[in-house]
């Protein structure tokens, strides 16, 4: 019976997620369109609402092409390996005081550990395509994800020091009892988290692994049809998951004035975090590879370490 409930929960999350990804893609195009004084998609359905559905339908109906020289089993497995960890991190997110997945006492660690596997999909996809652009894209992608995982993890440690627990529910409850969200006492951590999550997600301005002006399509150049759709789905699922983690850690999760239920506050905050990313995509030019690496290792990691030291000193000082 327990397992049935778990299964139903997972399927429900999956369904909501598919809808969320569909409209996140539409929202991204609409937001960027508005910033660039265009209309964005507006032909399918009222206000272009069915644009992504039409796109997905097109992708699913396309011919499934596998290059002749590709390493076939790996080529087929890579999109799955990219999507599976991005979806399994959703298992520990808590959406409100009563709705949530596994109440793991190492929730944060689970999220970070499982999300580190997404690199494997990128790497296998780029390597097995037997294409120089794919290979370059995947090498860049993994170098970037390995470098930016460090500041991402380090920026969270300040919160863990303050709360003294790795459980996501405990973290939100601590913010409720403290009366202020962690974005105020951990502002440095929040800035580092937001910047390194952009790099971790391969989003603009750090979208070097899929830089279309130099690498065609990056690590998924050779992919088409539903395998390409799978990579896109993985990317946006991971984006929603990281926005959800940011909401829980820095923005107080489901906390908010009582006139709306907790889960609505949670979703509004996730949408807010994603809007910031779309905004940056439309505003900033792409960084160079060396700038990206220098920024990660010489600026973000020292700032994150400084944040940990300051937090630890204050924690010991205050008792």
């Amino acid at each position: 019976m327990d397992y049935l409930m778990m299964f139903i929960y997972a399927v429900t999350v999956m369904g909501v997620l598919l809808g969320g990804v569909t409209f996140a893609i539409l929202a991204e195009r609409k937001v960027i369109g508005a910033i660039q004084l265009r209309n964005g998609p507006n032909r399918h359905g009222p206000w272009g609402l069915f644009q992504t559905i039409a796109d997905v339908l097109k992708l699913l109906l396309k011919e499934d092409v596998i290059p002749a020289k590709a390493d076939k089993p790996i080529f087929v497995l890579a999109p799955v390996l990219a999507f599976a960890p991005a979806f399994s991190v959703m298992a520990v997110l808590v959406y409100s005081s009563s709705i949530g997945g596994a109440d793991l006492n190492i929730g944060v660690l689970y999220f970070l550990g499982v999300s580190s596997i997404t690199m494997l999909g990128v790497l296998m996809g780029g390597w097995s395509s037997n294409n120089k652009y794919s290979l370059l894209g995947s090498i860049r992608g993994v170098a970037q994800m390995v470098s930016y995982e460090l500041p991402l993890v380090l920026s969270i440690i300040g919160i863990i020091i303050m709360v003294g627990s790795l459980n996501l529910t405990d973290i939100v409850n601590y913010q409720a009892s403290m009366g202020v969200w962690f974005i105020v006492p951990q502002f440095l951590g929040f800035v580092v988290y937001m910047i390194s999550s952009i790099a971790e997600l391969n989003r603009s301005p750090f979208d070097l692994p899929e830089a279309e002006s130099e690498l065609v399509g990056g690590f998924f150049t050779e992919y088409s049809g539903f395998r390409f759709a799978m990579f896109m789905l993985a990317e946006y699922t991971y984006a929603i998951a990281i926005a959800g983690l940011a909401t829980i850690l820095f923005l107080g999760g489901w906390l908010g004035p009582a006139f709306l239920p907790g889960i609505v506050w949670f979703m509004l905050k996730v949408v807010g975090v994603m809007f910031i990313w779309f905004w940056l995509t439309a505003t900033l030019p792409r960084a160079r590879v060396d700038q990206l690496m220098n920024f990660g290792w010489k600026v973000l990691i020292p700032i994150a370490l400084l944040n940990i030291v300051i937090t630890a000193i204050i924690k010991v000082w205050m008792g």
């Binding site: 790996i74 006492n105 494997l120 390995v146 790795l166």
Partner: protein, 166 residues
């Protein structure tokens, strides 16, 4: 059969089959992927035993880091012409079989003669307990390994710099 037993058998089968595939498959990229699956199944076994922290560390270190390292090694080197020569000689086969059989015998002896408590306490390997042990009991060993890793890191940087200067 309880659900725990079912999951144990599934995970153990995945771990064993993918470990055998690491040796049996021909191309090195397939071997790396099956190795990742083997590590992942072992992490699942840790979760099943209630050692969540060790399970996550297994995923982070082995699946997340070591497999990526192998894939990088595979990508940076010429992978098509690497083989282990033709058939190994008879004497090599006999010696390796004897070595592996001895190892298996010793391990089985160790496992069967292990003195396990009959009423197992439901031990939860929480982060707090492990942290207290690590920074309390095993502090010297912890510092020692930290020094070792730092010196390895510095050594790698020195070697890489020397190559870059030339």
């Amino acid at each position: 059969m309880t659900a725990q037993m079912t999951f144990f058998i599934i995970l153990a089968l995945i771990a064993i089959v993918s470990s055998v595939l690491v040796m049996a498959l021909r191309t090195i990229s397939h071997r790396v992927v099956s190795m990742a699956f083997s590590f992942f199944a072992i992490a699942g076994l840790y979760f099943l035993l209630g050692a969540e922290f060790i399970g996550i560390i297994q995923i982070m270190v082995y699946v997340g880091a070591i497999t990526i390292l192998f894939v990088f090694g595979m990508m940076m080197t010429e992978h098509r012409n690497i083989g282990f020569g033709p058939d190994p000689r008879k004497i090599q086969q006999v010696v390796s079989f004897l070595g592996v059989a001895t190892l298996l015998g010793i391990m089985l002896y160790g496992i069967f003669s292990m003195d396990l408590p009959t009423t197992p306490q439901p031990y939860v390997g929480s982060v707090e307990a492990i942290g207290l042990e690590l920074y309390g009991h095993y502090f010297i060993a912890f510092l020692g390994s930290a020094f070792l890793l730092t010196s390895a890191l510095i050594g790698a940087v020195v070697i890489a710099r020397k190559e870059a200067d030339e």
